[in-house]
């Protein structure tokens, strides 16, 4: 056996001080030499444990092999056989807990940088002239119609797979742009919006019709889609878009945002380009972001780029429990975000005109592990203290928007508002209705939403008689 190469190729990035002032992508991507060097490290394990670590089972060794043989077209085809949105997954998948953690070389501390290679291959494809891309060959239409609600990763994946199997697919999207959280939540500097849009264009090239500005439950209901408009099946991929608040005094003061609003203004509405774009966002000196997940990191890093002088992340547990991807927490820290661990806000105070000025917090300590296995934070008595803030962003997480469940007969929902659907097929208890992604799992990941979209497509195909 040849000697193992444990030199994982680092990702070239913009310098922290530079990138903290612009919205351009942080990661710059591998050069061809770096990609080749990284691909050459793969030992092509016959048992390919890496594949089992990927929720959509990308044939990892196979695409890496094509890459190192210089057959980029083949690499693209292999990748896309399982993952219709590789340029996105390569950027935002939590690889460290999925494919890369399963890689044989992970035990040696140097897993193959699968995500970065995936990003490289997908970027290569995006930069090819249309003529040299693998041609889209679609089967003849089978005359059956599918309605997909929501154009996030779950909906886009289900739609693409159904279209490839000959169905006529229409996506209904509430917002004015397709892409879901990929457009309104994850910022430009982590996932450039033109990349999301080229993936959306790819899905459209498969014959999928996307109806924007269409809020299902308002303009049309799920039952009407089937009974009046003749759709044979419906896939619900509406995500978990309802923001949670702390429910503490003063939370409705001016300049206290949900992370959804803060990020939507910045990403979807391009408030970072105000006043060239019409939608504003408040900018001040000191901002506190409450929470510890990817959403909190994204909000804090957006704030830095908007020009805030002091950006705090306030999290009630310790660093070890941060739910955000480690890489993103590190990026945030390098850029100058200040972490306040074991701290929890108890109320906001404002001035006479209704603007927030201060946040009262308490210190926490960690007790016994709770249901999630993480140690439960407990308030330290008498530890109250004040933080001055101009703006606060609440990034606690989201639950599904009840719009669909409230207007659709016969769906089963959990206490947390998620829709009950089979884990293996996505089938709900309602006839002809499937669901997948964050609407079923609560806030999760892009790739798990895509996996759910895929499984549902396969199940729909089976149910509709092929």
């Amino acid at each position: 056996m040849p000697k193992l190469d444990l030199n994982r190729q680092p990702m070239p990035k913009q310098e922290p001080q530079v990138r903290a002032k612009n919205f351009n992508e942080v990661a710059l991507g591998y050069t061809p030499e770096q990609a080749l060097a990284e691909a050459n490290r793969c030992i092509q394990c016959p048992k390919h444990p890496c594949i089992d670590g990927c929720p959509v089972e990308v044939p990892i060794p196979e695409f890496i092999k094509a890459l190192r043989e210089g057959d980029m077209l083949q690499a693209v085809e292999v990748l896309k056989s399982k993952n219709s949105l590789p340029a996105i997954c390569g950027r935002v998948c939590p690889q460290e807990t999925q494919c890369e953690s399963a890689c044989t070389l992970s035990k040696k501390g140097a897993p193959i940088a699968i995500g970065r290679l995936e990003r490289y291959v997908a970027n290569w494809e995006l930069n090819q002239p249309a003529t040299s891309k693998p041609a889209v060959i679609l089967p003849p239409t089978n005359g059956k119609r599918i309605a997909v609600i929501g154009s996030g990763p779950a909906g886009l994946t289900a739609a693409a797979d159904m279209a490839k199997m000959g169905y006529q697919v229409t996506i209904f999207e509430a917002l004015h742009i397709a892409g879901g959280v990929l457009m309104y939540g994850i910022p430009e500097f982590r996932l450039p919006k033109h990349i999301v849009q080229s993936e959306v264009e790819y899905v459209k090239s498969l014959g999928v019709d996307i109806k924007l500005d269409s809020v299902v439950g308002k303009v049309v209901t799920v039952d009407e889609l089937m009974k009046e408009q003749g759709y044979d099946a419906v896939f619900l991929g509406t995500g978990a878009g309802l923001p949670m608040f702390l429910n503490i005094p003063g939370e409705n003061l001016n300049s206290i945002y949900s992370a959804n609003e803060f990020l939507t203004r910045i990403n979807l509405m391009k408030a970072y380009l105000f006043p060239e774009y019409d939608t504003p966002v408040q900018i001040g000196k000191r901002i506190a972001v409450i929470g510890g997940g990817n959403v909190a990191m994204d909000s804090a890093r957006c704030a830095l780029r908007l020009g805030f002088e002091e950006v705090h992340i306030v999290y009630r547990r310790s660093r070890a429990e941060l739910p955000a991807r480690q890489e993103e927490a590190e990026n945030a820290e390098e850029e100058g975000v200040i972490f306040k661990f074991l701290t929890n806000p108890v109320r906001f105070l404002g001035n006479k005109d209704g603007w927030v000025t201060q946040m009262e917090c308490v210190e926490m300590e960690l007790g016994e592990p709770d249901a999630s296995g993480r140690r439960r934070p407990i308030v330290k008595a008498g530890s109250e203290f004040m933080i001055d803030v101009d703006i606060a962003v609440i990034a606690l997480g989201t639950t599904p928007n009840p719009l669909i469940t409230a207007t659709t007969e016969g769906l089963d929902t959990t206490k947390g508002g998620t829709v009950v659907a089979s884990e293996t097929t996505g089938k709900t208890v309602k006839d002809s209705v499937w669901a997948g992604g964050d609407i079923v799992t609560g806030s999760a990941t892009v790739i798990s939403a895509m996996g759910a979209g895929k499984r549902a497509a396969a199940s729909m195909h089976e149910a509709l008689g092929g």
Binding site: K218, N252, S258
Partner: protein, 281 residues
């Protein structure tokens, strides 16, 4: 893209569009709203449904020029397009047969009150309407409102037309007249709605108002539109826009409407400069 089928300048600074949007028109009901984005760089703003024509597949909106978006809209002509037009959003006004309903519309709020008054009348209520504006030249749709009401009082602040004064004066007289009023519905500027609710409060008459906080998505996703009703936080776009006027925290609503005042001024100035250059060129 949504085509403007018809444009009317109702009074200075207030315009009407009939917009081609068959799916929205098919579902629209009194009290609901749409979200409009004029162009690629535009903001999403809410506007109330003022009327609909299901056969033509059109929806009518009436808007007042206040900032960048509404100024951009004001220069559009018949045959032009609006980039995004989403709806119908929010819950429709709850219509039932109650007996006597007083409908109050102020300023641009006269437009949305018309379909509401019409729905109450069609449901078998006696509808007493009051409409008000600052001056005679800002009044529109008097005849439309009259045609869907049993009685109508018109007020102007300066007394240049109809009764001199504000809408709460005739409202109070109706309440004092001894006739049974089962509900009051008020749509207009925040201050008007607040004072309508104040006026009816001592009489214990249920008063519904249509709140207009700043919004972004209009589907319950962002929480920008939060208001406090009886000390509970509600999202106006999905829980409203209609709420019990006696429970609304008006100061909070007013404060939250002013969050972007400075930015909006800057945005408008910049747009005016740009427009000025273009129209002079």
């Amino acid at each position: 893209m949504y085509k403007i089928l018809h444009r009317e300048d109702l009074v200075p600074g207030i315009h009407l569009f009939r917009v081609e949007a068959p799916a929205v028109a098919a579902k629209a009901q009194a009290g609901q709203f749409v979200i409009v984005r004029v162009d690629e760089k535009g903001e999403r703003i809410p506007l109330t449904v003022a009327d609909w024509d299901r056969e033509e597949g059109s929806l009518t909106i009436v808007f007042m020029e206040v900032g960048t978006t509404t100024r951009k809209m004001a220069i559009l002509k018949k045959g032009d397009y609006i980039l995004n037009f989403v709806g119908p959003l929010g819950l429709p006004t709850h219509i039932e047969r109650l007996g006597t309903v007083v409908c109050v519309g102020g300023g641009v709020g006269v437009a949305p009150i018309v379909p509401i008054a019409r729905a109450f009348k069609e449901a078998g209520n006696k509808v007493i309407s009051i409409m008000g504006a600052r001056s005679w030249n800002l009044l529109f749709w008097e005849e439309r409102l009259r045609s869907v009401s049993n009685e109508l009082t018109v007020t102007t602040d300066d007394g240049s037309y109809g009764r001199k004064g504000v809408v709460t004066e005739p409202l109070k007289e109706i309440l004092d007249s001894g006739q049974k009023v089962d509900m009051v519905m008020a749509v207009g500027p925040v201050v008007m709605m607040k004072f309508c609710a104040k006026t009816t409060n001592p009489y214990g008459v249920k008063t519904v108002v249509s709140l207009n906080p700043i919004m972004v998505d209009g589907t319950g996703m962002c929480g920008c539109c939060r208001v406090e009703i009886g000390e509970k936080t509600k999202f106006t776009c999905v829980d409203g826009p209609d709420f019990d006027g006696h429970q609304v925290d008006w100061d909070l609503l007013l404060a939250r409407q002013h969050i972007y005042l400075e930015a909006e001024k800057r945005s408008l100035e910049l747009w005016e400069q740009r427009e000025g250059r273009e129209t002079n060129a």
